[in-house]
């Protein structure tokens, strides 16, 4: 009975999302505010109704209501309680509902917060977001409804896919969706700015924090996904350039570009059309990601059960949205002219310009690599997959170029940089970058890319440090004698700037992790019997025994392996091959030991009859830095989020 309530609520929400689209239009036509208000209240109602709908679905999971098809397919009596609630987004239907629900939440917040401040854009924002909600709710209700009932009630459900019975999976989809959906609000404001022709800074101010929030969530979601892949899939890596990973990475790249280029618009009233283009692209790529995941166009680890009808629908939805958005952009772009021009080649604006170019080139290369198999099959009938070699080849240079710019940005002033200032600012970072070469060689790094990365890390690190030190110094001179209170005041006054610089440091730490784990991973694959030993650069692994383990809803074969490091430090690895009771498939539970400089990663492979089991042992240098870096990024982003609406006129340190 409850699920019908939820179903009905979702249908009502769909009807009201139409109201949310139409009423503001009538309001604009007739000039009556009441109509626009109707649109606003519809947005609140849609959120309330979708909350009810989602709650009933979660309730069905909690109460083991297997008469609901979706519950029967994604849950079972034995499923641990923790996963019962989160199984709601364990499958296609529920995750789309989650998407729609988060979307309605953001729309409600936007309608509530920006109602007074952005009265001109608001009706258009409501209309556009109503349209997006409508599109999603049609998909949820007509093509993939989680509210369907079964005629024959099964005694037990099919259980949640074992790969998803993992804390990482609980957080990965919601965060990713918060990111995707978060871009919808800035997108709508950008469209409103285009339609009303008021593309001044109003929309930038409204959307800055939204964008930053969405970007933070998306970053977190991607990292959660990578981490989950690392410890759950048991292949020793965390990023495979899988089409769906790319689908989440592309909006990240363009979103990052947008975050940087809006600063130029704020400061110098340039890049207006470009910013509109970037945010529309970012949201489009978010939708494209959903399309790729949900339509089964590309084969990937995320390939869920798919049906062509669904794919057709999403494609239609995408086509309408893309052609509408970019059509308006092209048609209205003439109305927007920059107030300023670049004054000089060397100035902060141009570092932003190049940063944007690099990020966009990165996004385009990823897009090409993702779509190339599609194109080749469509036009030549051949099947190919584009793998890591292509992406690494094209992406590492882009990454290094971005690092170089990152080091330069903070030390170059706006408008025009004076020669003397440049010399003064860059002498120390440049010297340190050169010092990076012997350091790299000393660490045994011989690959040119890795050496350049070490140099750039020195360069960026020192340039950021100098910038920070200078800020503290000038504050100390102007009255606050205590360096800590100086730092506190400086960061407090300029949360965005120093939050952003913190994010840079996080990216730097991450890049070190990428290079370390990507280029220096070592692996041993051996078939082992109890008593066998294997060496892995600094570790010696001895297989003690194999035995069976049984827990909650799975049984497993477990290998007990004693690993001893050169310095005598010893750990016991217990990698497993798990078989969940209701599933044919086995999952691999890697045994991971994380240290500051490296991870030891042991996986139990296939059984080789009569000869024992295959054991794969990896040593992943610096892989932990990828996760540490993401923490620093999150920290910096949160600091930046705390900055208020208006940019305070603070004294720039330079």
């Amino acid at each position: 009975m409850w699920i019908e309530v939820g179903h009905f609520a979702a249908i009502l929400a769909l009807v009201l999302s139409v109201t949310q689209m139409v009423a503001p239009m009538v309001g604009i036509r007739t000039g009556q505010l009441a109509w626009i208000r109707v649109g606003r209240y519809s947005a609140f109602a849609v959120f309330g109704l979708l909350t009810i709908a989602s709650a009933t679905l979660i309730h069905a999971f909690m109460t083991h209501d297997f008469s609901v098809t979706y519950v029967a397919q994604n849950s079972s009596l034995k499923l641990p309680t923790f996963y019962l609630a989160t199984a709601m987004w364990g499958g296609h239907e529920g995750s789309l509902l989650l998407w729609a629900w988060l979307m309605s939440f953001f729309i409600a917040v936007a309608a509530w917060k920006h109602w007074k401040t952005h009265s001109v854009s608001m009706p258009w924002v409501l209309m556009i977001l109503g349209g997006v909600t409508l599109g999603f709710l049609c998909l949820v209700l007509l093509l993939s409804s989680p509210f369907e009932r079964l005629l024959m009630i099964p005694p037990d459900g099919r259980d949640l896919n074992p790969l998803l019975q993992d804390p990482g999976m609980v957080f990965h989809p919601p965060f990713l969706y918060l990111g995707y959906v978060g871009f919808a609000v800035p997108y709508a404001f950008a469209m409103a700015a285009l339609i009303t022709g008021q593309a001044k800074d109003e929309w930038i101010l409204a959307t800055r924090r939204w964008t930053l929030f969405a970007w933070t969530m998306l970053t977190t979601g991607i990292v959660f996904g990578a981490y989950w892949a690392y410890y759950e899939l048991g292949w020793g890596g965390y990023w495979a350039w899988d089409p769906v990973e790319n689908a989440s990475f592309m909006p990240w790249l363009t979103g990052t570009a947008f975050l940087h280029s809006i600063m130029v618009q704020e400061r110098r009233q340039m890049f207006k059309v470009w910013n509109l283009f970037l945010i529309i692209t970012t949201f489009s790529l978010s939708l494209l990601g959903t399309f790729l995941v949900r339509s089964g166009v590309l084969s990937s680890v995320h390939a869920f059960a798919t049906d062509p009808g669904r794919g057709m629908y999403i494609l239609g939805f995408m086509a309408v949205m893309l052609l509408f958005s970019f059509g308006i952009l092209v048609w209205r772009s003439e109305a927007l002219k920059a107030d300023n021009r670049m004054d000089a080649v060397v100035c902060r604006e141009s570092t932003f310009l190049f940063n944007n170019l690099f990020l966009l080139v990165g996004a385009i290369t990823v897009l090409l690599g993702t779509l190339y198999p599609l194109a080749l099959e469509a036009f030549a009938g051949a099947k190919v997959t584009v793998g890591p070699p292509y992406f690494n080849k094209v992406f590492i240079p882009v990454m290094l170029g971005l690092l170089l710019l990152m080091g330069m940005g903070p030390l170059i002033s706006w408008r025009r940089a004076a020669q003397g200032q440049l010399k003064k600012n860059f002498v120390i970072p440049a010297i340190l970058a050169v010092v990076g070469i012997p350091i790299a060689l000393f660490l045994g790094i011989d690959h040119p890319y890795a050496i350049v990365t070490v140099m750039l890390i020195m360069f960026v690190g020192s340039s950021h440090f100098i910038d920070f030190k200078r800020g503290v110094h000038s504050r100390m001179q102007s009255g606050s004698s205590n360096p800590f209170s100086a730092i506190w005041r400086m960061v407090g006054r300029n949360k965005r700037r120093y939050g952003g610089l913190t994010v840079h440091i996080g990216i730097l730490v991450m890049c070190a992790g990428f290079i370390g784990s990507g280029m220096f991973q070592e692996v041993q694959t051996v078939i082992m019997q109890p008593g066998d030993k294997v060496k892995l650069s600094g570790w010696e692994l001895t297989l003690d025994r194999y035995h069976k383990v049984r827990k909650d809803n799975w049984t497993a074969t477990e290998a007990v392996i004693i690993a001893v490091r050169e310095d005598g430090h010893s750990v016991t690895a217990t990698p497993q091959k798990r078989k969940y009771d209701n599933h044919e498939m086995e999952t691999t539970e890697a045994s991971i030991f994380s240290y500051f400089w490296e991870d030891l990663y042991v996986v139990l492979g296939d059984r080789i009859p009569g000869r024992g089991w295959a054991i794969k042992a990896y040593r992943n240098p610096l892989i932990g830095w990828v996760w540490y870096g993401s923490f620093i990024i999150a920290l910096g982003a949160i600091v930046a989020l705390f900055q208020g609406r208006r940019l305070k006129k603070t004294q720039e340190a330079n």
């Binding site: 494609l315 092209v330 469509a378 009859p609 009569g610």
Partner: protein, 186 residues
């Protein structure tokens, strides 16, 4: 924005949409085999039961269905009745043989599987370390290849054989092949 940029932007969007549309109908689960229209790879190995060595070369001049399976594979249970039916059908024909390959498996497991679901009369190769399966490019189980009398692979079946496979799939191929060959020449 210049005219050229507008054109490039809208053009690439339309192109992406068209590509997606074309991509919709594909089956991403099928990994194409490079062996089609090529001579069959070597298939030699110990029999699952007994001590013989089975070699595909001994069946030259016949149609051969090479079926890869394992007792660990759920879909193979579903396929098995169709194989048993095929086994009965080909007893009456001397131009068609079936070779089973039991891979990544233990003898005990495979024997138990056959005791439970029926033991066909055609030969089975035991391939515990996947030597044969890798040679033949097997991705999942069950998968089967159809080899024509010239020793050429002409079809790969992904997943279980369809119901009444011999009459619906194999016979038309055999008839087409025989029609090509001049009567009298073999």
């Amino acid at each position: 924005m210049g005219k050229l940029w507008k054109f490039i932007l809208l053009g690439s969007i339309v192109l992406i949409l068209v590509l997606m549309g074309l991509g919709l109908g594909r089956d991403t689960k099928k990994i194409p085999t490079a062996l089609l229209e090529k001579p069959a790879p070597i298939l030699r190995g110990p029999a699952l039961a007994g001590t013989d060595t089975i070699d595909i070369a001994d069946y030259k001049g016949k149609w051969i269905l090479v079926n890869f399976w394992g007792s660990w594979c759920g879909a193979c249970v579903g396929e098995h009745p169709e194989l048993m039916r095929l086994d009965r059908l080909i007893k009456e024909r001397d131009d068609f043989a079936v070779i089973g390959v039991d891979y990544k498996d233990t003898r005990r497991g495979a024997m138990a599987f056959l005791r439970r679901h029926g033991t066909p009369s055609y030969p089975m190769v035991f391939d515990p370390d996947q030597k044969v399966a890798i040679e033949w490019g097997i991705v999942r189980a069950p998968e089967s290849y159809l080899v024509n009398p010239d020793g050429m692979i002409i079809k790969k079946e992904y997943g279980p054989l369809v119901r009444n496979w011999f009459n619906t799939v194999a016979l038309p191929l055999i008839e087409a092949y025989n029609a090509k060959k001049k009567p009298g020449a073999s």
